[in-house]
C-alpha cells in the first residue's frame, strides 16, 4: 500500500469511474478497469438468461400438439406432409461462419494490441495481415452479418414450410430462443461496425485495447451460446 500511496498521492479525483473512453488513469482497487468487471458480471447474468431460454426449449420439446416438428415428420389433417423442419447442413454452415467470426475477432484484438509495434521486414502476408485491425474487425462484422443472413433464410423458409412463432410450442420456443440469440448477434455487429468506424476515423491503438476487448468478450460469448444451441437444439433429437 505504501507504494500505492506514492504513486497516487492522497489527491482527490482519482477514483471517479468512467463509462466512456476517457483517458484518466483513475485509482481502482484491483487495478482493473471498471468496464471490464462490468462486462464479465453482465456475461454471468447472460448465462442465466440463456439457461432459462434453453431449458424452456428443452422442456417444451416434444410437447407440441401439432406440427411441424424439429426432427420428425408430420402430416396435418389436410394430408399435407411436413419434413422434419431443421436444416442441418445450412445450420452447420452458419455455425462454421460464427466460429470463424470468433477467430477474426481475436485477431482484431491482437492487431489493436500490436499496433505500432515494429514488424520484421521479412514478414509474410500472414504476419502483415495480422496487423490490420480494420481487416479483422470488418471480417468479424461481415461473418456475423452472414450468420444473420443464414438465420433470416432459415426463418423465412420455416415460415414457408408452415412453422411460425404462433404455430405450436416448438415454433414459439424455437423462434424466441434463436431470435434472442440473433438479436445478440445484431447488437454485436452494430458494435463491431462502430469500432470499425472509430478505427477508420481516428485509428485504434494499444490504448484502446480495452474497448475492443470488451466487444470481443461479448462477441465470443454470443458465439459460445450458439455452440450450445447448435448441439442441444439442432443435433440432439
Amino acid at each position: 500500500m505504501a507504494s500505492h500511496a506514492a504513486a497516487a498521492p492522497h489527491t482527490a479525483g482519482a477514483d471517479a469511474g468512467h463509462d466512456d473512453g476517457h483517458e484518466h488513469h483513475h485509482y481502482t482497487t484491483t487495478g482493473l478497469d471498471n468496464r471490464k468487471i462490468a462486462i464479465w458480471a453482465f456475461l454471468g447474468s447472460e448465462c442465466m438468461l440463456f439457461a432459462s431460454l434453453i431449458s424452456t426449449y428443452l422442456i417444451y420439446k416434444g410437447k407440441s400438439l401439432v406440427g411441424p416438428f424439429p426432427h420428425t415428420e408430420w402430416v396435418n389433417e389436410a394430408g399435407k406432409r411436413f419434413e422434419p423442419i431443421l436444416d442441418i447442413p445450412v445450420t452447420s454452415a452458419s455455425t462454421a461462419v460464427l466460429l470463424a467470426s470468433s477467430f477474426a475477432m481475436v485477431l482484431a484484438l491482437q492487431a489493436v494490441q500490436l499496433k505500432g509495434k515494429p514488424i520484421a521486414a521479412t514478414a509474410g502476408w500472414w504476419e502483415r495481415i495480422q496487423r490490420s485491425s480494420q481487416f479483422w474487425l470488418a471480417a468479424t462484422a461481415f461473418l456475423g452479418a452472414t450468420f444473420l443472413g443464414f438465420q433470416a433464410y432459415e426463418f423465412t423458409s420455416f415460415v414457408h414450410e408452415g412453422l411460425t412463432i404462433k404455430t405450436n410450442l416448438f415454433g414459439s420456443t424455437f423462434f424466441t430462443l434463436t431470435g434472442f440469440h440473433g438479436a445478440h448477434v445484431t447488437v454485436g455487429v452494430l458494435w463491431l461496425m462502430t469500432l470499425l468506424w472509430i478505427d477508420r476515423t481516428r485509428g485504434l491503438g494499444p490504448k484502446d485495447e480495452l474497448i475492443v476487448d470488451i466487444c470481443a468478450l461479448y462477441w465470443h460469448f454470443v458465439d459460445v451460446v450458439w455452440i450450445v444451441i447448435f448441439t442441444l437444439v439442432y443435433l440432439i433429437s
Binding site: 471517479a16 469511474g17 447474468s45 432459462s52 407440441s64 415454433g171 414459439s172
Partner: protein, 638 residues
C-alpha cells in the same frame, strides 16, 4: 443538497451552478442526489402501496363488506404486492445503495455515474407506468406473481396485465443496470486499505444482493418475455390450447421470486448491522461469520424456489429436496439473529429511534422466520399455503424485517443525508405505532389462516370464525397508517427544522461518518486510507477496535494518532477548489430512459389493432433510446 445544508457549513458555499434548481436534479449524476431521488420516490410509492393496503383492509374489516368491487379488490392486492416489492422496498434499498456504498468504501462516486442516473429514471418511469392505471380501474389484476394461464389474453383480455408485464420488464432493466454498477463499484472502487473483509456490513450485504439481482432477474425476464410475446404476438408459451404447461411460468417466476425475497431483506440486515454496533458502542459480533452467513443465505436462496409450489404436485422426491434446502436457510439466518443479540450483549445499549427499529427487526423477523420454517414442511404447508397464514409470514418478514430495517436506516442516516436530525419524539410515536400496529395487523392473520381463511378473497361469509381476526387486522392497519403519517410529517419537516447534526452524530465507526453532513459533492477531499473495519473508531477511540485485525504494520500502534490515516474532514470546499474532476451533469440518461419506456409502451396499441400507431411509437422510442445511448457514450464523463 445545498438547499438543505445546515448553516454551520456556510464556510464555503457550494457555488457551482449545478447545485440548485430542478435542472440540477434532472441532470444529476451524483450518487447522493440519485440516492435522494430514489428515497423520495420510493417513499411515495410506499405510501401508495400502503394506501392500497388500507383499502384492502377496509374491505376485509367485516364479512361481505361491499366497500370495493371484486374487480377493484383484485387490482388492489395485485398492485399492493407489486408496488411494495418492486416500487417501494427494492428502491428504498437502492436509495441506500446509492447514498451509502460509495461513502462506506471511500469512493468518489459509483463506477458508472450516468448508468446510475439511467437506472433511477427507468425506475421512475416504470413505476409511473405501473401505477397510473389504477386510477382508471384498469390496473394489473393477476396477483403479484401473475400465474399463467390467468394472465394470458384468453383469460385477461383487458390491458391490465399488459401494464404489469411491460412495467416489470422495464423495472428489471433498471435493477440489472444498477446491479452491474454496484458490483463494479464494490469490487473496484474501494479506498486503499478497504479490503473485502473490512467492508462495512451494509456494503457486504448489498454486494450479495447485487449478485442475487444479476442472477435472479434473467429468469423472470425470460418468463416475462414469453408472456409479452404471448399477449402481443400470439405465441403459445402459456396458451392452454397449444398444450402449454402452466408450471413453466411458476418455476421461472419463483427461480427469481425466492432470491427476490432475500433481495428485499439483506439490505435491511445490512442496515441494522450498522445501527446495532453504533448504539451498543461495540463492534459487530462475529463479523466474519456475518459475512459468510450473508453469502450463504444468498447462495442457498437459489435452491429453494419450489417451496412456493408444494401444492402443485411435484412429487415426493422434489418436495423433500426443496423442503430440506429451505430449512437449511434457517441456520445462517439464525446465526445473524444470535450475533446481533451478542453484539448488544455487554454493550451500552442506547435506545435512539434507529436502534429501536433495529431491535424490533430482530424480534419481529424471527417470528416471520419461524412461520417460514413452518411452511417449509410440505405436508404442513398444504394446510397453510394460499391462506392468511402465509400472508402473516411474509408480512412479518417484510414489514417486521425489511421495513423495520429500512426505517432504522432512514433515522440513522437522515443526519448524514440532510445535516439534520429527525425529531425523536415523533420518531418514537412512529416506532410504537408501527410496532403495535403491525402486530395487531399481522399476528391475527396467523389465526385467520390456520382457521381456514384463504388469501386473495374480497369477501367472506360471517360465522366462519374469522370476523374478530379481520377486525383486529384492520384496526392495526389504521394504526400503522396513522403512525406512518407521523413519519411523513417528521421526515419532511426535519429537513429544515431538525436539530443540526455534525459529521458523526451517533458516534459510529465507518468512513461515511468522517465527512461533513451532508457530504460534499466529491465525498472525500482526501482519499482515505483504511486501517480496520471501524476506521473512525481507530481514530477516535482506538481501544474499541484494538481487538480486531489491523493488517498494516504501521497502523498496529493505533494509539499513535499520527499513524491513523483516516482524516476527519470538517471543512467543505467545492470540487473545483480542490481540483477534483466530477462527473458532468447530463440529462442524456433521462432521455435514454424515456426512449426505453416509450419503446415498450408502443406495444400496448398492438392489442387494439393499431399496428401503425404501435410501430410508430415503438420505433420512435427505439430511435430515442439508441440515439440517447449513443450521445451518452460518446460524450465525456468528466
Amino acid at each position: 443538497m445545498a438547499t438543505i445544508a445546515a448553516p454551520t457549513h456556510a464556510g464555503h458555499a457550494e457555488a457551482s451552478s449545478q447545485n440548485t434548481g430542478i435542472w440540477s436534479w434532472i441532470a444529476t449524476t451524483d450518487h447522493k442526489r440519485i440516492g435522494t431521488l430514489y428515497l423520495w420516490t420510493a417513499l411515495f410509492f410506499f405510501l401508495v402501496g400502503g394506501l392500497e393496503a388500507v383499502l384492502i383492509r377496509t374491505q376485509l374489516m367485516k364479512p361481505n363488506m361491499g366497500f370495493v368491487s371484486a374487480e377493484t379488490y383484485n387490482q388492489l392486492f395485485t398492485m399492493h404486492g407489486t408496488t411494495m416489492v418492486f416500487l417501494a422496498i427494492m428502491p428504498l434499498s437502492a436509495a441506500f445503495f446509492n447514498f451509502l456504498i460509495p461513502l462506506q468504501i471511500g469512493a468518489r462516486d459509483v463506477a458508472f455515474p450516468r448508468l446510475n442516473a439511467f437506472s433511477y429514471w427507468v425506475y421512475l418511469l416504470g413505476g409511473i407506468f405501473l401505477t397510473v392505471p389504477i386510477l382508471f380501474d384498469v390496473a394489473p389484476n393477476g396477483g403479484w406473481f401473475g400465474y399463467a394461464p390467468l394472465t394470458t389474453v384468453q383469460f385477461s383480455p383487458g390491458h391490465n396485465i399488459d401494464f404489469w408485464v411491460i412495467g416489470l420488464q422495464v423495472l428489471g432493466v433498471s435493477s440489472l443496470a444498477a446491479a452491474f454498477n454496484f458490483i463494479t463499484t464494490i469490487i473496484n472502487m474501494r479506498a486503499p486499505g478497504m479490503t473485502l473483509m473490512r467492508m462495512p456490513m451494509f456494503t457486504w450485504m448489498s454486494f450479495v444482493v447485487q449478485f442475487l439481482l444479476v442472477l435472479a432477474f434473467p429468469p423472470i425476464t425470460v418468463a416475462l418475455v414469453f408472456l409479452l410475446m404471448d399477449r402481443f404476438f400470439g405465441t403459445t408459451f402459456y396458451a392452454i390450447a397449444a398444450g402449454a404447461d402452466p408450471l413453466l411460468w411458476q418455476h421461472l417466476f419463483w427461480v427469481f421470486g425466492h432470491p427476490e425475497v432475500y433481495i428485499l431483506i439483506l439490505p435491511a440486515f445490512g442496515l441494522v448491522s450498522e445501527v446495532l454496533p453504533t448504539f451498543s458502542k461495540k463492534p459487530l459480533f462475529g463479523y466474519n461469520v456475518m459475512v459468510y452467513s450473508g453469502i450463504m443465505i444468498g447462495f442457498l436462496g437459489f435452491g429453494v424456489w419450489a417451496h412456493h409450489m408444494f401444492a402443485v404436485g411435484m412429487g415426493a422426491v422434489a418436495d423433500s429436496i426443496f423442503s430440506m434446502m429451505t430449512m437449511l436457510i434457517a441456520i445462517p439466518t439464525g446465526v445473524k439473529i444470535f450475533n446481533w443479540i451478542a453484539t448488544m450483549w455487554a454493550g451500552e445499549v442506547r435506545f435512539e429511534v434507529p436502534m429501536k427499529f433495529a431491535i424490533a427487526l430482530i424480534g419481529m423477523f424471527t417470528i416471520g422466520g419461524i412461520s417460514g420454517v413452518m411452511h417449509s414442511s410440505p405436508p404442513a404447508d398444504l394446510q397453510q399455503t394460499d391462506t392468511y397464514f402465509i400472508v402473516a409470514h411474509f408480512h412479518y418478514v417484510l414489514f417486521g424485517g425489511s421495513i423495520m430495517g429500512i426505517f432504522a436506516g432512514i433515522y440513522h442516516y437522515y443526519p448524514k443525508m440532510t445535516g439534520r436530525f429527525m425529531d425523536t419524539g415523533l420518531g418514537n410515536l412512529h416506532f410504537w405505532g408501527n410496532l403495535i400496529g403491525m402486530n395487531l395487523t399481522f399476528f391475527p392473520m396467523h389465526f385467520s389462516g390456520l382457521y381456514g381463511m384463504p388469501r386473495r378473497i374480497y369477501q367472506y361469509d360471517s360465522g366462519q370464525g374469522w370476523d374478530l381476526f379481520n377486525l383486529m387486522s384492520t384496526y392495526g392497519t389504521y394504526l400503522i397508517a396513522l403512525s406512518t403519517l407521523v413519519f411523513v410529517w417528521n421526515f419532511v419537516r426535519s429537513r429544515t427544522r431538525g436539530a443540526v447534526a455534525g459529521n458523526d452524530p451517533w458516534g459510529a465507526g465507518t468512513l461515511e461518518w468522517s465527512i461533513p453532513s451532508p457530504p460534499p459533492e466529491y465525498n472525500f477531499a482526501q482519499l482515505p486510507e483504511v486501517t480496520s473495519r471501524y476506521p473512525l473508531w481507530d481514530l477516535k477511540d482506538p481501544s474499541k477496535t484494538a481487538g480486531i485485525a489491523h493488517s498494516h504494520a504501521d497502523a498496529m500502534t493505533i494509539t499513535d494518532a499520527h499513524a491513523v490515516p483516516v482524516h476527519e474532514e470538517t471543512e467543505r470546499f467545492t470540487a473545483k477548489e480542490l481540483g477534483i474532476p466530477m462527473p458532468l451533469p447530463t440529462a442524456k440518461p433521462l432521455f435514454t430512459a424515456v426512449g426505453l419506456m416509450t419503446m415498450f409502451s408502443g406495444l400496448l396499441f398492438l392489442r387494439n389493432d393499431l399496428f401503425a400507431v404501435a410501430m410508430t411509437i415503438t420505433i420512435g422510442g427505439a430511435c430515442m433510446f439508441i440515439g440517447g445511448l449513443y450521445a451518452w457514450l460518446t460524450s465525456p464523463l468528466e
